[in-house]
């Protein structure tokens, strides 16, 4: 299947490449991306780190970017106080104020300015990041966010809304976040779509967190039910940088996120928290590689996933501690909840250690709802369905409670409750 699909990609690229904006990605770089992708081939489920991804959806989509832009913007979530919002529809920036915050530069690369290649750097070169090449070949817009050294903390919200069907084309969200030394920034990234959209969304996000800078990155994937969402996030952390990445995935038919964080400077810290809630035929898969290359670096990883119906939830968390990363500390806590006889949860903690004097701990468990907890709630008069909702809710709270922005946390809690069809039973909590 892979070669037929790569041929299809090459063909579609040939038909549209002349019209793709050079200011976003230079033509030579796009062509190189296509060549590299075709040479490597698309990911396949026989590969260990792709085995839980539903890749068959790629056989039935159009890869070229959506040409006719829908004028309709799907209803957007309530705006959060303090966040400056940028809205993209089908991959193109539709609204958002440029440079609306002191100490912050936000710019769409479709507008004239220095070319993207200068800031973006090469596409990550590891097999799990292949779909970023697809983004590089086809992206029609890219947002560059720069938080300048020692600037006051700022908050940005990026909404990527898909409006069209898969046969109409794909969209390629592309973002580069740069934090200079000691900058502080919150980025909230939402991926969503009109209910009828059946799009292919393939995003590429890159974050460079400078010395002693702090990036809090919330990513919410609540795409429309028929969307195929693929994503590659790469981040590089300088000395003493702190990166808090928190993702919540509830939407899409197929969602695959590949995350690669390189702790390149001494004392850099990554806190990765991810929650996934999948039902019906949904498949949610995340591969996260945390690579410790400098001494005294630290990773804390928390995953909570619930699979109901015939859904599959997978989390593959790899922590690699390289030779020069002595004194590193990593902790993984991965838990999955099976909510139904046909649901599937696959958790895979991996440690690769090339040095001594490191501390690594990990735990991974998957199981059904705790019957002791359930009976305890029933014995207090709580209805069985409410008790189940409550325990599922509590399970995800391990991740959700880490959201420092209270308004955002409430929004996400409401969204999770509605996904669980528990908005009525849990109303006291919302």
């Amino acid at each position: 299947m892979s070669s037929a699909v790569t041929e299809q990609i090459r063909k579609e690229y040939g038909a549209v490449h002349a019209a793709l904006p050079a200011s976003v990605i230079e033509p030579a770089r796009r062509a190189e991306a296509i060549e590299r992708l075709c040479a490597q081939g698309l990911p396949a489920t026989r590969e260990e780190n792709w085995r839980y991804t539903n890749l068959r959806v790629l056989e039935h989509v159009r890869f070229a970017p959506i040409e006719t832009q829908s004028q309709a913007v799907p209803p957007l979530p309530e705006a959060l106080p303090g966040f400056v919002r940028y809205v993209f529809v089908d991959g193109l920036l539709r609204s958002g104020a440029a440079g609306s915050h002191p100490g912050l530069t936000v710019r769409s690369l479709r507008t004239p300015g220095p070319s993207s290649s200068a800031t973006w750097g090469p596409c990550p070169d590891f097999p799990e990041a292949r779909l970023a090449l697809l983004n590089e070949a086809f992206a029609t817009d890219a947002l560059l966010i720069e938080a300048h050294a020692n600037a006051a903390p700022a908050a940005i919200e990026l909404v990527f809304a898909a409006s069209a069907g898969a046969q109409a084309g794909a969209s390629y969200p592309r973002v580069h976040v740069v934090l200079e030394a000691s900058a502080e920034l919150i980025v909230l990234e939402r991926h969503m779509g009109a209910p009828e959209a059946a799009s292919l969304v393939n995003s590429a996000v890159r974050a460079d967190v400078g010395e002693n800078a702090r990036l809090t990155h919330y990513r919410l994937q609540h795409c429309a039910p028929r969307t195929a969402w693929f994503d590659t996030l790469t981040a590089q952390l300088a000395a003493q940088a702190r990166y808090h990445l928190l993702t919540v995935g509830t939407g899409a038919l197929t969602a695959r996120s590949t995350v690669h964080v390189r702790l390149a400077g001494a004392g850099a810290e990554l806190a990765l928290s991810a929650a996934a809630l999948a039902d019906r035929q949904q498949s949610h898969d995340m591969y996260a590689l945390s690579e410790h290359v400098a001494p005294n670096t630290r990773t804390t990883e928390t995953f909570r996933g619930i699979a109901s119906g015939r859904a599959r939830v997978a989390f593959n968390g790899k922590i690699a501690v390289r030779e020069r990363a002595g004194g590193s500390d990593s902790r993984q806590s991965l838990r999955g909840l099976l909510d139904g006889p046909e649901a599937e949860v696959d958790l895979r903690p991996q440690l690769e250690i090339y040095t001594d004097e490191v501390r690594c701990s990990h735990g991974a468990t998957a199981g059904k709802l705790d019957q002791n907890m359930l009976f305890y709630l029933l014995s207090r008069g709580i209805a069985p369905q409410t008790a189940q909702h409550l325990l599922k809710w509590a399970f995800l709270e391990d991740v959700v409670a880490k959201i420092e922005c209270a308004e955002l946390r409430r929004q996400i809690e409401r969204d999770l409750a509605s996904q669980m069809s528990a908005a009525a039973t849990l109303k006291e909590l919302l």
């Binding site: 019957q371 029933l378 008069g381 809710w393 409670a401």
Partner: protein, 249 residues
């Protein structure tokens, strides 16, 4: 209030209760004592309707209705409360939510409106003072990180807030130091009244010094082998259970 006739129950296919008879009239406190493995906790779980505890014969009538026909949550709403020997921790569900949800479930059953938020908090605070519990506990997860003693106090707090008709306290005294035991006993005693019954499942006489029972029953090998007034507990303290085990055999 509670009438148990010829109760047989199995756990994992093994018969634990073997024809148990017990009657607890309204307003009385009954202690069920017995050696390890005699079936005390099984009796408590059967009353609360725990899955896996199968009743194979007999009847349990509670306020004139067939208790065995009710699901665990229906029993709770009807006024049966089980104080757990080992209360579970439920991180992510906070105590105040649980209390409120439990109160409202019972009120809904009785056709009453949901509890007023102010009235509810006033009630909870009053009961917490009685149990000498810190208010910060309310926003914590249910029993999360609580010591053994705190968990037991939390059980009694829930009981005081819910005001059940029948409370079954399973080894509420285990793991308590003497001060905590007094607090727990005081809490339980405030709930005594003509409309309420209590079943204290316990191993030791110690608790009964603080919560004086109307009747004491000895459970051996799945049956009540002897009943008496509180002096029976004192006799057990002196002589142990062996003489009754011998008699039962």
């Amino acid at each position: 209030m509670l009438k148990i006739e010829n109760l047989h129950a199995t756990v994992d296919g093994k018969e634990i209760l073997k024809g148990l008879e017990l009657e607890v009239p309204a307003g009385e406190v009954h202690a069920v004592m017995g050696p390890n493995g005699s079936g005390k906790s099984t009796l408590a779980y059967v009353l609360a309707g725990r899955p896996g505890y199968a009743v194979t014969a007999g009847r349990i009538s509670f306020q004139g209705q067939d208790l065995l026909a009710l699901s665990p949550e229906e029993r709770a709403r009807a006024g049966v409360f089980l104080g757990f020997q080992y209360p579970v921790e439920i991180p992510g569900v906070n105590n105040v939510y649980l209390l409120k949800a439990a109160i409202n479930a019972a009120r809904k059953q009785r056709g009453e409106p949901e509890v007023d938020a102010f009235e509810f908090l006033t009630l909870v605070r009053e009961k917490m003072r009685l149990m000498r519990m810190d208010e910060s506990m309310l926003s914590r997860g249910v029993n999360e990180g609580f010591s053994g003693g705190e968990k037991k106090r939390n059980e009694i707090l829930q009981m005081l807030v819910l005001e059940p008709r029948l409370a079954v306290l399973d080894e509420t005294d285990s793991g308590l130091d003497i001060d905590a035991l007094k607090i727990v006993a005081h809490g339980v005693n405030t709930l005594r009244g003509p409309q309420r019954s209590l079943v204290l499942v316990t191993h030791y006489q110690r608790l009964l010094e603080h919560i004086v029972p109307d009747r004491v029953h000895v459970l051996v090998n799945g049956r009540i082998v002897r009943s008496g007034d509180r002096t029976l507990a004192l006799e057990l303290e002196r002589r142990g259970y062996d003489w009754l085990i011998g008699e039962a055999a």
